[in-house]
């Protein structure tokens, strides 16, 4: 299947990546090439086949629900482009 400019605009919005107007058409072409490639899978009969989600070597393990780390907010926020009083700082979101 090929995707058009509008579809690319929409998925770019969902993915939170700014795409300039003149880049939409070339991207639509590239993505369509990839989608055509992966659509070879349509030829496989998968009726009744369970989808495999993980790495297939074992079931996920569980652990006790307890705190194992924390208490160092200055480390957690230490790489933030902007932080104040050990909080991440972002543009205003509430008027």
């Amino acid at each position: 299947m090929s995707v058009d400019k509008e579809t690319v605009r929409n998925i770019a919005r969902l993915a939170r990546i700014r795409v300039d107007e003149d880049a939409l058409e070339p991207l639509a072409k590239e993505l369509s090439t990839i989608l055509t490639f992966v659509e070879q899978l349509d030829a496989v009969n998968t009726d009744g086949v369970e989808p495999q989600a993980g790495g297939r070597t074992m079931a996920l393990q569980q652990r006790a629900d307890e705190v194992t780390a924390g208490g160092y907010p200055e480390k957690v926020t230490g790489n933030a482009p902007k932080s104040e009083h050990n909080f991440f700082a972002v543009p205003k979101v509430v008027e």
Partner: protein, 494 residues
């Protein structure tokens, strides 16, 4: 001058020489630091950590003097810059992680330091490990030390672990870590004439390794010999409560397998790997590998892996889907780059537009698309079902064989820029490596010969879940039969 008597030693040889006090860890590290300086034209290191290396080497000499040398004591390693290293710039070769210095160490690298290894620096890779040639790196392409006969065209070192493969092959570290999501250890290893091992999914902890596709990613060693890979994996592997997919089973002494007999070993040859357009010399090398194992007493069995041709398309749905989720965290808030905007959403969009390269954007967009409402079943669920079938193909094959032999790549190294314009032709590099990732199986690439242009080619062995031991045994049989001792001619020392 690079002291090549030191930098030509493998891990096992260097460790032995350190034990016998024939060399010191400081001498060894200094030789590599000189080699790194001379080899900067290969663009293998993003960050050199020479001060840390010298301190580590000094500590190692003290431990060795006290007779307290650990398994990797004093051995200088390069670390793929996808592993978080405490207080040391960690980039994933992406602009979006500008300036990021983690406050913690990845489990695998911590295991290496626990066992005495010395860090030389952080190695180049494709951005977020997405690529097969290291050309998507924000820091430029790592260059293969190998060149075609009589031709100085720069060649790629493979990817995504291209800095690792080039550095190991050029003697700019004794060995390196890699990660393998669809072939990112084995393909660059094959293209540079070194050994690369992708362990079973769950064998090495993924904690602290920048995530690309979490159900496929696996850490592994890239080394100059099978024995070195066995030694290094033993330190890297092991259960880690910080990764819920890490398995709690014993890590055997892999070094004991090296040189072991393959008499009676059943080796499967999958007929579906004879793909159209495969160069005759790759096919011939594969046949050579079959003959070597047969001569060593192995039993060769024709097998069928019927869904092989669907592995690559399934991978290019599953991996981008997981990547689009994993990379959502790069939003300009918690680390790295921020590009301001008029509101929060615009800040996210501007940051991600400026911070991600073209290939990463393509994959995030594809992943977003295949997971979006209305397309999930047609693409993502379908790919997961095909993944089940690919796994079942291997299950069936392993009822009659112990390991599977195939080429690692369809061709030798290609020129920088030759495939950069066509994403799908680049993806085809991974046609032989991707199935093992989808099935979570261990696989190793061993250098086995040179093509007509004088470039290395590798053979790949795929094993049963958690049976890395058999792979090391079979790989060492190929290694000794092949007698691959070719080295690239040194042209890069400025």
């Amino acid at each position: 001058m690079v002291d090549t008597t030191l930098t030509s030693l493998g891990l096992v040889e260097a460790r032995d020489a350190l034990d016998k006090k024939e060399i010191s860890a400081v001498e060894l590290t200094d030789a590599y630091i000189t080699a790194m300086e001379k080899g900067r034209g290969l663009n293998t290191y993003i960050t050199e950590t020479t001060d840390l290396a010298r301190e580590g080497a000094k500590r190692a000499d003290e431990n060795l003097a006290k007779g307290e040398g650990k398994p990797l004591e004093g051995l200088p390693l390069g670390i793929k810059d996808l592993y978080c290293t405490e207080g040391v710039l960690t980039t994933a070769a992406s602009h979006i992680l500008d300036g990021y210095k983690p406050h913690y160490e990845s489990t695998v690298s911590a295991n290496l330091w626990r066992d005495g290894a010395v860090m030389l620096g952080k190695l180049n890779l494709d951005e977020f490990a997405m690529g097969s040639s290291n050309e998507t790196s924000f820091y430029g392409t790592a260059i293969n030390p190998w060149r075609r006969n009589g031709d100085d065209t720069p060649l790629v070192a493979g990817g995504s672990s291209g800095g690792s493969s080039a550095a190991v092959a050029a003697g700019l570290c004794a060995a390196a870590t890699g990660t393998d999501t669809g072939g990112s250890i084995r393909q660059p290893a094959a293209l540079t004439g070194i050994v690369g091992m992708k362990p079973s999914y769950g064998r090495c902890s993924r904690w602290g390794i920048v995530a690309f596709a979490s159900s496929l990613d696996q850490a592994g060693p890239m080394t100059r010999s099978v024995a070195d890979a066995a030694l290094m994996l033993r330190s890297m592997a092991g259960h880690d409560p910080m990764d819920s997919t890490s398995v709690d089973i014993e890590v055997p002494d892999y070094t004991a397998e090296v040189g072991g007999s393959v008499k009676g070993l059943r080796v499967g040859i999958p007929k579906e790997y004879r793909v159209d357009g495969m160069p005759a010399e790759v096919d011939a090398l594969w046949q050579q590998g079959i003959d070597w194992l047969k001569d060593a007493g192995a039993e060769i069995v024709e097998i069928s892996l019927p869904h092989t041709q669907y592995a690559l398309p399934a991978y290019y749905i599953v991996a981008p889907a997981e990547a689009s989720s994993n990379l959502a965290r790069y939003d300009g808030v918690r680390y790295g780059l921020r590009e301001d905007g008029k509101d929060l959403i615009e800040m996210y969009q501007n940051t991600r537009a400026a911070g991600f390269g073209d290939e990463v954007k393509r994959r995030v967009l594809i992943g977003t698309y295949v997971l979006s409402a209305g397309y999930y079943d047609a693409y993502y669920r379908k790919a997961q079902q095909v993944r089940t079938l690919i796994g079942q193909d291997f299950d069936t094959a392993f009822e009659s064989v112990d390991t599977i032999l195939a080429p690692t790549t369809p061709t030798g190294a290609f020129g920088v820029g030759e495939k950069a314009d066509d994403p799908v032709s680049m993806y085809l590099n991974d046609v032989f490596t991707v199935p093992a990732n989808l099935a979570g199986l261990p696989a190793i690439s061993v250098p086995a010969g040179l093509d007509s242009q004088g470039l290395p080619l590798g053979l790949q062995l795929i094993g049963k879940h958690f049976d890395e031991a058999t792979l090391f045994r079979a790989a060492s049989a190929i290694e000794s039969a092949a007698g691959f001792t070719a080295k690239p001619t040194v042209w890069w020392e400025g």
